[in-house]
Symmetry: C2
Subunit: 337 residues, 2 copies
């Protein structure tokens, strides 16, 4: 491609826009629907209820150990669909580019999106690109909206969590959040910190195939971490969630970095983990199903829903004490995803 | 609401985010699906093929005569669905806010979105909000993605345009583009310039009810204007499009402002107009159907598809001459929508 940086012209809707579409987007993301280059994609309908979601990604830096903004945008939206039990069907891709962005950087992100879509088998079928003047954006902001289908008999929602249900976390906490934070702070810590960005629709499909009715709630603890997501579930269900400190899976390198920075892994963003609230009689079975997958091999039962003060999350500490896990108010660091 | 400006905390995923959702978004956009506050919306499926689209809106200024960024985001995405013959079903709303944005401004935009959704009867069912630090965005960027359904027998696409078809434009050209330009330039012109932002799904539904097979192509000439959109259709169909200069509808105030600024209305963005490529035997009928609607009361037949040089748009001038209408390369002014 002839351009080396993104110009305002690339957002004009004229020839420069067309060039960007054909020489960059179609080159890497090509599929029959996208190739039509219409303003909307027309797609065959599928069985089941429709699931629809949207997320914008503004992570800084664009590239980080374990991933980049492109992967995050594909995985995050796929995971939002999966958390309702849906099979993801397709994505839209809305880009807001800052004038002066290096073409190479954009192409690297687009290639990463293409790879993530291919691996997840969920195509981008429609897109849009806007360019804002230098200083009015920050390199690349991405919106991915997603469309999926869920069997009419599947009903997964935060409001379905019940007293006695167990809480399963599909793997270690805080990997994404601490990776971005140490990158941003320029801190080098020992160990191999990297983002956990990963699509979870395969794990969810497996879980629902084996246990179609035992899974009451699925949530991915992204911004605000496990603590904030569980507080929301406790609020909606009107129950208390009791966590066991010793059961919480945290990678040693993440724990070390958290201690160094004075952070609590419970509040750190995850981009490849889910919380499953499961009927207590099937929780061990659900755990086994999750552990049999690559994505869920470090899954653990971390707590239980009990009667008590509505909307409260408490944690039982190893020394026999109890403390309240309050929801996050603000943010330890902005632009984590 | 207690906050007066948007803080980074409002994008944290914690309590501040929750507060923004309940005290602003739910307050104005409330509906049963949105109220669930899940990461994805689950919706009843409908008959027909699925139509899916996305668009980001970065218009500057946020508020302008005839509309604002919120209305534009609702109408623009509805229109992209309508241009495939779809009945719009629901929207997603992704906001990227700049730290320091005045809460009042945001609320004014959200109220405008709510009004536009109510009028169009297309609800926002899922959303996401990110906040970027001051100087890393520009007040408000909006992404709306849209979902609609189209009858399986309806096939509307740029590639369906045929030799002999007539080109109908649903109303005057350039109203949106010239309004934004004069606002941005701080130019005061005589007359009543205002954006034409308007949803067109009602007009399209009426057209397809009366003439389900005669309409071959529908496109809304937004960025790049009528000239760029027709060049794309000429390219895809492999035909020449011949326009009649005298037939092109332009409001006198728009023409005057264009003359003052040295602009050509054919290249200016429209946000409430469509181009319909219609079988020649039914074009008069289609024109009558459009003119009977409020949105299309100034519709006109502006040209014809003829054999000739592939992908060329030409215009016959009143003095008997012909000139080529080249596609726009870059942009007369960025951030028009």
């Amino acid at each position: 491609m002839s351009v080396k940086t993104i110009l305002l012209d690339h957002g004009s809707g004229g020839l420069a826009s067309q060039q960007l579409i054909s020489e960059l987007f179609l080159k890497h993301l090509d599929n029959p629907v996208l190739r039509d280059l219409e303003d909307s994609a027309v797609l065959a309908n599928q069985e089941g209820n429709i699931v629809f979601t949207t997320d914008s990604y503004v992570v800084d830096p664009l590239f980080f150990p374990g991933g980049d903004i492109g992967k995050l945008a594909v995985h995050g939206t796929i995971n939002d669909l999966a958390m309702r039990g849906a099979k993801p069907y397709c994505l839209s891709l809305g880009l807001i580019l800052e004038e002066g962005l290096r073409f190479e950087e954009l192409e690297r992100v687009i290639i990463s999106i293409a790879d993530a879509c291919r691996e997840a088998q969920v195509p981008v079928v429609t897109g849009d690109t806007k360019v804002v003047p230098k200083g009015k954006g920050d390199k690349i902001f991405i919106n991915t909206s997603g469309l999926g289908f869920v069997d009419k008999d599947i009903d997964i929602s935060s409001k379905n969590a019940r007293e006695g249900d167990l809480v399963i976390l599909s793997g270690t906490m805080g990997d994404h959040g601490i990776t971005i934070m140490t990158q941003r702070a320029g801190i080098s810590v020992q160990g191999d910190l990297q983002s956990d960005t990963m699509p979870l629709h395969g794990l969810v499909a497996q879980l629902l195939r084996e246990l179609p009715t035992a899974v009451h709630t699925l949530r991915d603890p992204t911004r605000g971490g496990v603590a904030s997501t569980l507080n929301e579930i406790a609020d909606i269900s009107g129950l208390t969630i009791e966590l066991s400190d010793e059961a919480l899976p945290v990678r040693p390198s993440v724990r070390a970095a958290c201690e160094l920075l004075g952070l609590e892994p419970l509040y750190l963003a995850n981009e490849g983990k889910c919380l499953a609230i499961v009927d207590q009689d099937h929780a061990q079975e659900a755990l086994a199903v999750m552990r049999a997958t690559e994505e869920g091999k470090e899954a653990a039962i971390i707590g239980r829903l009990v009667a008590g003060k509505t909307g409260r999350v408490i944690i039982n500490t190893p020394v026999g004490g109890t403390r309240v896990v309050t929801p996050l108010h603000g943010m330890p660091l902005p632009r984590i995803c």
